[in-house]
Amino acid sequence: MRALHRGFLVVCLSLCLSFPGHAEEFGVADLMHMLAQVKESRATFVEEKRLAALTEPLILRGDLEYRAPAHLVKRTVAPIQESLEVDGSQLSVTKPGEGMNQTLSLDTYPEIKIMVAAIRGTLAGDIDTLREYYEVGFSGSRPAWELTLVPRSKRVREFLRVVRISGAEQRMTSMEMIEGSGDTTLMTIQTR
């Protein structure tokens, strides 16, 4: 009788353990799925650029706007004023202070296209685009995840070594880019 009870307990426990949701197997597919649910988001950012050529880091502040699937705006407010807007394959650069406004096609500038793909692909939960340009590595769990993107193309790796994107739940909290020259950019994002 006791053996039967113990066996029954073991079966119950193992059955419970094998239910999905309990086991917290959170993978990159789940992350992408979760991120894809977010159709719109706004955030402020602080960007820290460490350049080998400079003795101190450059600090920039501004805000970000995202609208699924392909619309992204990065507005730098201090110490310079600049607005970068990406919509589909068009990139617009506006410098209100200088009265400059330029539009270019991302197809003409593959380097910029790849960098944009990293951030936009993540926000849109588009694993296919990410995998097209990068080797995607995932670690962490739902409340604290990190994506490590290494460019597939050797030529691209010469100027962009790795992109690390961290987040919590469905919010992106930081993005770090390490360039081939050793310069790094760390963007800390505060979603409103």
Partner: protein
């Protein structure tokens, strides 16, 4: 076999032999520059020289369409690499790999000599500080990566400013790494052939190579490749002229042959007809080849149509053979009339020889030589070849002299077509004269439109207004154009032009480069200024060591010359703007967005430099054409007077001259009025063809008005003239269906004119049948 028959065979064999020899000695050319007028104002001469520049003409633009962009890009790259491998092209560009690493190195190293940023004061503490602050601003912005790459060696941004200057005019859009048209439907490739664009042999080989490379690239079913460029045009024009000449010759010969067979129904007569014609063509060809050294393709086409005129002479001879007299007597009988006709024809064609279009001079020479030989052959050789007793009986009804007199009632009506035509013209808005040289080109409209569209896609400015700067050497020409730059800037300020492009922008003169070199500071001074300028700014100490090294090296650099740039992508631009010859160099300044041409002309005149020439290309070409139209009309006047003199001498009585000349003059003006109404504005070629028509028509008028013995003689004359008219109409009428404007123009004018001349002559004819009044008859 009878003696005459043997003679005929012998003569034909001799002609065939001469023909064979001649075909080996003759060179045929088909480029349309032969129809570009020579001489003119200095601007026009410069223009023609430029248009004939083999380098400019060697550019070919290729467009690929009919597939999705990724596939188009693949085809573009595949085609480009195959063409590069073929060794037939001095440059192949499709937007990928614009600059090789070596090229980049060279330009980077030469940046201080090439960039306009190098001036006195550019390396002072203030200027350096401004540059460094700009750098910081750029590093903060999205353009950071651009700057940080070369920051250590080029903090003043000389290389970037160089790139900005060069790219200041729009180039083609780029997708998938290659050049595309603005709407993304076509991938673009630009190549430059090693051989001249005006050499049709070279262009033929080039065309084949491109086609093979295209097929080897395995294009999908719907994909198409289009080509355009001067070389392409020349090749297509040549193909077209050749094709049309062959088709036309075949059809015209067949039609004429059929007609003659039906009318003559005698093999000996047919062979005899052929002899003066062939002799005339051979003589014309030989004459042109010996005077010019080549025969143009259009001359051949025209020459074949002259068969229709030359065949008049044997027809007139054969038609007047009678059983009542020997062939020699028949020949002698018609000779005075024939001779007057030949003389009138030659007078009518002589304006062509004095034309300023070399092509027309050839046509005139060919025609005159051919006709003279045909006439002489008819008079002196043919009678020996005719079997005595040979008579031809054409199947043509003959109106009795009484009926013909009756036709004179219709006299007033022959002016009707002219009057009606003038009325219609006054009412319609049909274009009267053709001033646009482009319309006279054998290149079809679709091809010209494609050329325009592709040039727009490539971002090549529409080159219409240029200033040619001449110099004994390239250096002189570059210096002179640089000296003119301030004037150009003021023209921009006045809004007379929007911008300009010149060779010196990409390749500064050695003088300028050396001046820039002298402006570079000593290393110690520069280091001091730089340290002071960078104080307080967060640049790593020692960061700019490469910059200091590069400036020091530049102080000892030799100026960059054209040879150094020859293998770089920049050579494509420079070649279009710099024309080099043994003892002369011409640098072109291309003016963009011209709003006030007069202001430009004024500033060039004020500049008082003898080596500067302002050319409005389209305007110059069109005024050339109208000048030549005017000149041709003047020479036509002289030709008409010459004909009048011939006729007066030959006919003696003023009344006879008037009667002979009137129907032809009327036919001429009627033709002039009808041509614009049927959609052919009058061009130089029409004018010239008119004189040809006058000569031919006069033959009919002369024969209709000659003193004739009896009715059967009248019928011989009438039938012979009808046969002449039909053969001329057949050959020139068929020419009117060609698409080459030169041939079509000449064919239409002559066909209409000859038809009118025949009818009008007949109506006004007063055949003199009185056997007693032979005394003063022609």
């Amino acid at each position: 076999m009878s003696r005459p028959a043997l003679f005929v065979i012998a003569v034909l064999a001799a002609l065939a032999g001469i023909g064979g020899l001649l075909s080996r000695a003759v060179t045929v050319r088909t480029d349309m520059t032969a129809f570009l007028p020579a001489g003119g104002t200095p601007a026009a001469q410069m223009l023609i020289k430029t248009l004939q520049s083999p380098v400019l003409a060697s550019i070919i633009l290729i467009a690929i369409e009919g597939a999705d962009p990724a596939e188009l890009a693949r085809l573009s790259n595949d085609l480009a690499s195959r063409l590069k491998a073929s060794e037939l092209f001095s440059s192949v560009s499709n937007g990928a790999d614009v600059m090789s690493g070596d090229d980049f190195e060279m330009f980077f190293r030469a940046r201080y000599l090439l960039s306009a940023k190098t001036q006195r004061g550019a390396f002072d503490e203030t200027a350096l500080r401004a540059d460094l602050e700009t750098d910081l601003g750029l590093l903060r912005s999205s353009a950071g990566p651009l700057v940080s790459r070369n920051l250590a060696a080029d903090p003043t941004g000389h290389f970037l400013s160089l790139a900005r200057d060069w790219l200041s005019h729009a180039g083609p859009a780029s997708r998938n790494g290659v050049w595309f048209s603005a709407d993304g439907s076509r991938a673009l490739v630009m190549v430059r052939s090693k051989g001249s664009g005006l050499d049709t042999g070279v262009q033929s080989e080039v065309a084949d190579t491109i086609e093979e490379a295209w097929q080897a690239a395995a294009p999908p079913a719907n994909a198409r490749m289009l080509k355009t460029g001067t070389g392409v045009f020349a090749h297509q024009a040549e193909q077209q002229i050749r094709r049309e000449t062959m088709i036309f010759s075949a059809v015209a010969s067949a039609a004429l042959l059929a007609f003659m067979v039906v009318q003559l129904r005698s093999v000996p007569a047919l062979l005899i007809t052929v002899i003066p014609v062939v002799a005339g063509i051979l003589a014309g060809t030989a004459l042109v080849q010996s005077v010019f050294g080549f025969v143009h393709g259009v001359t051949f086409g025209f020459g074949v149509s002259m068969i229709g005129v030359a065949v008049d002479y044997p027809i007139l001879f054969l038609g007047h053979l009678s059983s009542e007299r020997s062939p020699f007597q028949s020949a002698r009988l018609i000779w005075p009339t024939l001779l007057t006709g030949v003389a009138a024809n030659v007078c009518g064609l002589s304006p062509m020889i004095f034309s300023s279009f070399p092509g027309l001079t050839q046509l005139g020479l060919f025609a005159i030589g051919g006709l003279l030989v045909a006439a002489a052959t008819t008079r002196f050789l043919l009678p020996r070849l005719v079997t005595p007793g040979l008579v031809i009986r054409p199947l043509i009804p003959c109106p009795s002299p009484g009926r013909v007199q009756g036709l004179r009632k219709l006299r007033p009506f022959i002016a009707l077509p002219f009057i009606v035509g003038v009325a219609l013209l006054a009412q319609s808005d049909a274009k009267l004269t053709q001033d646009d040289l482009a319309e006279l080109s054998p290149v079809p409209v679709e091809q010209r439109n494609l050329d325009e569209a592709l040039r727009r896609d490539m971002g090549a400015p529409d080159v219409r207004h240029i200033i040619a700067v001449r110099g004994k050497t390239v250096e002189e020409a570059l210096q002179a154009s640089e000296d003119f730059a301030p004037t150009l800037q003021s023209l921009i300020g006045q809004k007379a032009i929007e911008g300009y492009d010149m060779a010196a922008k990409y390749l500064p003169s050695a003088r300028t480069q050396l001046a820039r070199r002298a402006a570079l500071p000593e290393p110690a001074k520069l280091e001091g200024a730089l340290t002071r300028a960078a104080s307080g700014l967060p640049f790593r100490p020692g960061l700019f060591a490469p910059f200091l090294q590069d400036v020091a090296a530049a102080r000892g650099q030799e100026p960059v010359d054209a040879a150094a740039l020859a293998r770089t992508p920049l050579s494509a631009v420079i070649d279009g703007l710099l024309y080099r010859q043994a003892d002369e160099a011409i640098a072109y300044i291309v003016l963009i967005g011209v709003k006030q041409p007069d202001a430009i002309a004024a500033s060039v005149t004020q500049n008082r430099q003898p080596n500067l020439l302002y050319i409005d290309i389209k305007g110059e070409m069109n005024s050339l054409v109208s000048n030549y139209l005017a000149e041709t009309l003047r020479t036509l006047g002289w030709g008409a007077l010459a004909i009048l003199a011939c006729l007066s001498f030959g006919l003696r009585r003023p009344a006879a001259v008037l009667r002979t000349l009137m129907p032809i003059a009327l036919a001429g003006v009627t033709t002039v009025v009808v041509l614009p109404l049927i959609g052919q504005p009058l061009s130089v070629f029409h004018m010239v063809a008119l004189m040809l028509m006058v000569g031919v028509g006069l033959d009919y008028s002369l024969f209709f008005n000659r003193s004739i013995g009896d009715e059967s003689e009248w019928c011989r004359t009438f039938r012979a003239v009808v046969m002449c008219a039909v053969t001329t109409l057949l050959s020139f009428g068929l020419l009117a269906f060609c698409t080459t404007p030169v041939m079509r123009g000449i064919g239409s004018a002559v066909a209409i004119g000859v038809a009118c001349a025949f009818v009008f002559s007949l109506v006004l004819a007063r055949p003199n049948l009185d056997p007693r009044s032979r005394a003063v008859s022609p």
